[in-house]
């Protein structure tokens, strides 16, 4: 770890000339494809398994479209934060980081609200195979968003203690958390289409 001198370019001295941390993050994201792929496939498989409970007609498309939009824009804020720290502008970095985290929190509160409505309308985790698949898929996505929010909060906090500064090391850390954040966004892009938008009568 003593290789992380301030002067060295990120990833200097490695075989691919890229930082280890970033390569590790991409490998992890490759692995996550298999994780979410399984949950999305199971959801598709159980579209017809609604039993006596409500089916996909329960979804509130306008509401979810708004929270989808918020999550998309949080990705924009995230790249802005990265651009800021790469320019050495810590003030701008803090603003965008906080903004990203707050948009993530907005998305999460939207999810909590949506869950509450569904439960009131008679669709809980245990209602049917369809409802279990829906809640577990979307809540695992929610858990990923929450972890992202925690990491962004930690970045913001550490930018005040000096642990996150304009060094290459810090930039790589921000870039990595950004990659994670965009990945979570990408997964939501898929979930939004597969779960909410595609008409179900075709698939059942």
């Amino acid at each position: 770890m003593a290789t992380d001198t301030e002067s060295a370019a990120p990833g200097a001295g490695t075989n691919f000339g890229v930082p280890n941390e970033k390569m590790g993050m991409w490998a992890f994201l490759g692995s996550e494809c298999l994780f979410f792929g399984a949950f999305i496939s199971v959801y598709v498989l159980y579209l017809g398994g609604t039993g006596d409970g409500p089916g996909p007609a329960i979804f509130d498309i306008p509401f979810t479209s708004v929270s989808t939009f918020v999550l998309l824009m949080s990705s924009l804020a995230m790249v802005m934060a990265l651009a800021a720290i790469q320019d050495g502008d810590m003030r701008r970095f803090r603003t965008w980081t906080l903004g990203t985290a707050l948009m993530g929190l907005t998305f999460l509160s939207g999810q909590v609200y949506e869950y509450t409505v569904f439960v009131e309308e008679g669709m809980g985790l245990t209602t049917s195979a369809f409802s279990t698949a829906f809640f577990v898929l979307t809540s695992f996505h929610g858990v990923h968003v929450s972890i992202g929010v925690l990491m962004l909060g930690a970045l913001w906090f550490m930018s005040f203690t000096g642990r996150i500064d304009t060094s290459q090391r810090s930039q790589t850390a921000v870039e990595n958390i950004g990659l994670y954040w965009h990945f979570v966004d990408i997964i939501w892009i898929l979930i939004f289409t597969v779960v909410y938008l595609i008409p179900v009568d075709l698939l059942t």
Partner: protein, 643 residues
């Protein structure tokens, strides 16, 4: 290092500094210490799993025996499978990855040393958690494959003989394996980056030792297989712990889904278990035959081919589940095809030994043992690819015989070969030769006595997983032979443990290169210093160490290279000598973080949500402490001036 001195210490806990004593082991981030601890923990689990096997064989030695109750038998064979696969063979392979990969690629350590320590502790935490199930009223009891719906109703739905809470046993299964999976996944990411990005100057992909290649393939298999079983395990948890409906037919679920997800993971898992052993024997055979490995490229590419094809054969475990003729035919074919790359390896190993000047030391004996025994297991595997034949063999002892020939005759023989081979590197002492040879012959005889007859038993119709059988089925004699064989294996393993203890204390001294070996880890001292190499070797050929000894030296003068990286830094004008190489400081956080996971899981099992909260709190807090931790504690200036 200047960069270190101007980083102020702002961590939540200061980094521990001890480099010896027991705390240094608990907080170490040194891949060699971690590797040794991986081995020690895996050996303990191996002995426990073996004990479970002996109890089962005692029960099956005669017809209508009553050594074990049905319930105890169910728990024992489930735990035997889980223990041997997830807590013995996988971590024992991980011990070799950890100890050897950085040495073999000429790196100072792995890419993420603290993450490496985390993998170790999480694996141990998972094992403790799974075994704690016996304190909570019973271990998982519905086989290691744990099909739906038996996972939900239990082996005794009417409650005739079993009391207790079956759902709780399933939570131990689900969460225990989930935690173990986290350890494997973290370790896979770590080692992929290490091998791809931290090789010594000149160590191109096609110069890498075969063990490094096979390890890399295994890490990719783990990387992509673990999330699949992870999903299945979460689904199981939601079904049994929170009344979910993933596998409940009455609520629209499909039990077959579990089988697909399980075997999507489970078949790559087979290669996760066997490929490290293949890598080990590919190092040992050339050394002891004193010939280069025959067909290096063929062995490497067949290993990669196995890595790809391993994803296309999972449904051969499900031929009797009614997939239909098209799927059965397709997977039967792909299963026959995957025997080809394995066969290529076997022929290359035989070709390596052909005409060699063979030395039959214990590592070589075990390596040859693998080639022979695995061939038997591989051939019986091909018989499963024939769908009608498989329908006959399914869930009989024939299958048990088959996978013990590949996993015991393959993986375990290979891992023992590796222990005998690299023990002198790790400890600077040999394992005793005579005890080693006794161990080998007893194990070989015991193994064939234990599992050979099970082919016959299976073809005669004896089903797996039944806790007893009536006499008069023609099974009595072979069962007795099998039990005797199992106890002979136990004796051989006992000899191994005695050998290990004796040799660690007072083994014959070994120098840096006691076997006249071929790969670069033998260029370092035995045992290697914490920073592995004073000067990172520049690699100019395959079998670099051999090349230097017998082909007129290395050719290039080794370049000094700083800690952690592989090249280029030396060109920044910094001079490094052994005592200046700065290795990462130890850390408390991996151990603390790992401790949080089983706490959270116990909370789920018992319904004490506060406990789960505390566990998760520990995980989050230590993750934060981890992120805040400085690279290393600032050194007192006087020391760094005069060192």
């Amino acid at each position: 290092m200047t960069a270190v001195a101007d980083t102020p210490s702002k961590g939540l806990l200061s980094r521990p500094g001890a480099s010896s004593g027991w705390t240094s082991w608990l907080t170490t981030v040194d891949h060699k210490k971690i590797g040794i601890m991986y081995f020690a923990a895996a050996l303990i689990f191996f002995l426990v799993g073996g004990l479970e096997a002996l109890l089962m064989r005692a029960q099956l030695s005669t017809a209508n025996a009553s050594v074990l109750s049905a319930d105890a038998y169910n728990q024992l064979f489930t735990m035997h499978g889980l223990t041997m696969i997830f807590f013995a063979i996988m971590p024992m392979s991980a011990a070799f990855f950890n100890y050897l990969l950085p040495l073999m690629i000429g790196a100072r350590d792995v890419a993420f040393p603290r993450l490496n320590a985390l993998s170790l502790w999480v694996f141990i935490a998972a094992g403790i958690f799974l075994y704690s199930s016996w304190l909570f009223g019973g271990a998982p009891d519905t086989t290691w494959v744990n099909y739906a719906p038996v996972q939900e109703v239990g082996p005794d739905p009417a409650g005739l003989t079993l009391g207790g809470d079956h759902d709780q046993r399933m939570l131990f299964y689900s969460l225990g394996l989930q935690i173990a999976g986290i350890a494997s996944l973290a370790s896979a990411i770590n080692l992929i980056v290490t091998v791809l990005n931290m090789r010594a100057p000149g160590l191109t992909f096609m110069r890498m030792p075969v063990f490094v290649w096979m390890s890399l393939v295994v890490q990719f298999l783990i990387l992509f297989a673990m999330p699949v079983i992870g999903v299945a395990l979460w689904q199981l948890m939601f079904d049994v712990g929170f009344d979910g409906n993933f596998f409940r037919v009455d609520a629209g679920g499909q039990p077959i889904l579990w089988q697909h997800l399980f075997w999507l993971f489970g078949h790559p898992e087979v290669y996760i278990l066997i490929l490290p052993a293949f890598g080990i024997v590919s190092e040992i055979l050339p050394t002891f035959a004193r010939k280069p490995l025959f067909g290096y490229a063929a062995i490497v590419f067949s290993g990669i081919a196995i890595g790809f094809m391993g994803w296309g054969v999972w449904a051969h475990h499900m031929f009797t589940s009614g997939l239909g003729p098209v799927a059965n035919a397709a997977f039967g074919l792909s299963t026959m095809f995957i025997a080809v790359p394995t066969g290529i390896k076997i022929f290359n190993w035989v070709g390596t030994m052909w005409g060699g000047r063979m030395r039959f030391s214990p590592p070589m004996l075990f390596a040859i043992g693998l080639v022979a025994m695995f061939t038997i297991g591989g051939l019986s595997g091909v018989t499963h690819a024939v769908v009608p034949s498989d329908a006959q063999q399914h869930d009989t002892y024939y299958v048990v015989a088959h996978f013990h020939y590949v996993l015991f005759g393959g993986a375990i023989f290979g891992l023992f070969a590796g222990v005998y081979y690299w023990f002198p590197k790790a400890f600077g002492k040999f394992l005793n030769d005579r005890l080693g040879k006794t161990h080998f012959w007893l194990q070989l005889i015991g193994f064939n006595l234990a599992f050979g007859p099970q082919h016959v038993l299976g073809l005669n119709g004896m089903p797996r997983r039944y806790y007893t059988y009536p006499s008069g089925m023609g099974w009595d004699m072979w069962n007795m032979v099998s039990t005797i064989g199992a106890f002979i294996i136990a004796l051989s393993v006992l000899i191994f443990v005695v050998n290990l203890v004796k040799s660690v204390r007072s083994g014959e001294q070994a120098d840096a290169d006691p076997w006249d070996a071929r790969t670069i880890e033998w260029l370092s001292a035995s045992p290697p210093p914490p920073h592995n190499y004073d000067e990172v070797p520049v690699v100019t050929s395959r079998d670099e160490a051999w090349h230097r000894k017998y082909a007129g030296g290395g050719g290039e003068v080794p370049r000094p290279v700083p800690a952690g990286a592989s090249a280029d830094h030396a060109e920044h004008g910094e001079e490094h000598h052994g005592e200046h190489i700065h290795m990462p400081d130890p850390s408390y956080w991996p151990l603390i973080l790992a401790a949080g996971l089983p706490l959270a899981a116990w909370g789920v099992v018992t319904g004490l949500w506060a406990l789960s909260g505390i566990g998760l709190g520990i995980v989050l807090l230590s993750a934060f402490g981890w992120a805040m931790e400085p690279e290393s504690e600032p050194e007192p200036h006087a020391e760094s001036e005069h060192a």
